[in-house]
Symmetry: C2
Subunit: 352 residues, 2 copies
């Protein structure tokens, strides 16, 4: 098959880890007989510097006309001081999500048996953890009307959801649950919020279409607790944008493998794949950043965007082999030999 | 001194643990020469059954005219099915917070050296954890306009904050920080929400009044992570209502001593003290519930509402002694002898 992939390397370590994902994807393409055309485009601070805008129209056109987007990381320390300034890398992220219609953010949290000791949680708490969040990504309080009144003394943010928005996200959750242990948890705050009550009643009404899926409804504060207590008691979770922001980050650290976690953001037409880690500016150019989360994001791209599970599996197997053989960057080296970012990428590509 | 204390025992185990707090408070009063008049009042399911309302006016009058409120726990399983029904125990809670003006919810999370093994986190992660949240409790998305439009197909919840609301909460945080390690963390989502930007700019403007306090600003998603990674890196945290709901529950489980955690909800005129645990209906009447969180809530009452730190200390010392001597309920007995709720209460009262 032939694919066009928009390549948004971004800032900090983004370009160097993206380079490894390209190498590995090319190795997969060579092995399985595919042809990839890479379409690089600017985003984040790099785009602000070049054209004054973190998600320029030219980048949007490239993304919208590609078969998938591979995204590195964005953000640089010089943007840290004023999180409300209008021209910031993250504003580009929100604009991109909205314009590409990436309404479903998929975030797996799983354990690598060899890395259990990296978790802040005790081993018996995380063993077997393999959960997936579907976070709604283009609605809720992120995108509702916001502003000031009373000469700036009062601020407001409106959280809005329509039934259709809930349905399309929940549908993803039900379908994913059907391919796994058929357990779905809807996370809301239905004892306080009207939007949560809409979420809950909408999901309840969909239960009849998936009679095999066992659905539970849990309050967001209870989930914030149980995620730390017994993360391995969850399977698929669905939730709205802000709760998802908080809970997926919380979940990402419990496995101790945060630097290995990929993610996907799915729309009707296009999907985007990115590691959950940030742009790690201190490591830029040092060839020390761990490229595995980025490479696993490419695996998700093959699986989800191109529906090619074997290709994804080939990448996952290579990563597991690298972990088993200690072909790892310094964050995982534990006093043993630390390989460089590009050496790990080379090894993975050679072992596809 | 003479005090009137409104006693809202509530549902489930509420009455039995409250009874122990009364015993212990009476022992404190006897020792230090105070006189307490208890004013029992209905709340929660008990109030719904009696008068059809979870926070009746009669209860409000008793609370508003007392020197402090001691609150047990509310909620019963028969209310679990429909979290949006208008007559529910929790609706009474929200009404009570608003009508009593309890704008600042104080939630300490600390470790008991003898209970470190109860935490889901590894010991080195939690050792020395001693953090306090101040959660705003009468504003934000909990109390903003909410409803439906488009014939019920669209739901909305409005989050609103005024500068004055932020200031009075932040003031509590700064003042508490001054009595501790002078570190304050303001938790917000200023890269997305206008209300968070108001929070941040308001707190920034207050920094000059507390030059000794070192203030940091962290995004709520980052805090959700670091709370699991290094809870002992925090001291005082301030945040808005919904973030506080999620993060204080998350924090409560990391120490492993959730069943021992008290809380205070403070207003301009009156404060309320309650354990963070729920009404634990399965244990009702069995004399097995741990009364220590409730008893420590009474300690906070002496310290905060009556400004009597010695009296609070006497209670805390008794609890520590009981833990050291194994005078504990079954949740902490670890195979050793389990004492009953009232026996633990008796022991604590006798050891004041
Ligand atoms: C950078 C920020 C706007 C973003 C979000 O809140 O969605 C980030 O935290 C994320 O989760 O991707
Ligand atoms: C019961 C519920 C309304 C309440 C809240 O969300 O404030 C509870 O979770 C709490 O934290 O006291």
């Amino acid at each position: 098959m032939k694919f066009n992939i928009a390549l948004l390397a971004g800032d900090g370590i983004g370009p160097e880890v993206t380079e490894q994902a390209v190498k590995v994807s090319e190795a997969v393409a060579a092995k399985f007989g595919h042809e990839i055309t890479w379409k690089p485009a600017l985003t984040g601070a790099a785009a602000i510097d070049a054209v004054g805008e973190p998600y320029p129209d030219s980048t949007h056109e490239i993304c919208a006309s590609s078969d998938a987007v591979l995204f590195g990381a964005i953000g640089l320390p010089r943007f840290d001081n004023d999180p409300s300034a209008p021209v910031r890398p993250e504003q580009g992220l929100l604009k991109m999500r909205k314009k590409l219609g990436l309404f479903a953010n998929l975030r797996p949290t799983f354990t690598f048996p060899s890395l259990l000791d990296k978790s802040p949680l005790k081993q018996e708490r995380i063993e077997g953890t393999d959960l997936v969040f579907f976070r709604e990504l283009t609605g809720g309080i992120y995108f509702g009307e916001k502003g000031r009144r009373d000469e700036g003394e009062t601020a407001f943010d409106n959280c809005v959801y329509t039934r259709a928005e809930v349905q399309r996200l929940a549908k993803k959750g039900f379908e994913l649950a059907m391919t796994r242990t058929k357990k779905l948890c809807c996370v809301d705050k239905a004892n306080v919020l009207e939007t949560s009550r809409l979420w809950r009643e909408t999901v309840q009404a969909m239960e009849k279409d998936y009679p095999e899926v066992e659905v539970s409804y849990e309050l967001v504060d209870a989930v914030a607790m149980r995620l730390v207590q017994w993360p391995n008691s969850y399977d698929v979770l669905i939730t709205e944008n802000l709760f998802g922001d908080i809970l997926t980050d919380e979940a990402s650290v419990i496995s101790g493998s945060m630097g290995l976690m990929p993610s996907a953001s799915m729309g009707e037409d296009i999907s985007l794949f990115e590691p959950i880690h940030g742009s790690y500016p201190q490591a830029t150019g040092l060839n020390i950043a761990n490229p595995m989360a980025m490479v696993l994001s490419a695996a998700m791209m093959f699986e989800i965007a191109f529906n090619l599970p074997e290709e994804g599996k080939a990448i996952r197997n290579a990563v597991n082999a690298a972990l088993a053989e200690g072909i790892v960057t310094e964050d995982l080296a534990d006093g043993g030999k630390a390989y460089g970012t590009s050496e790990v990428g080379d090894w993975l590509a050679a072992n596809i």
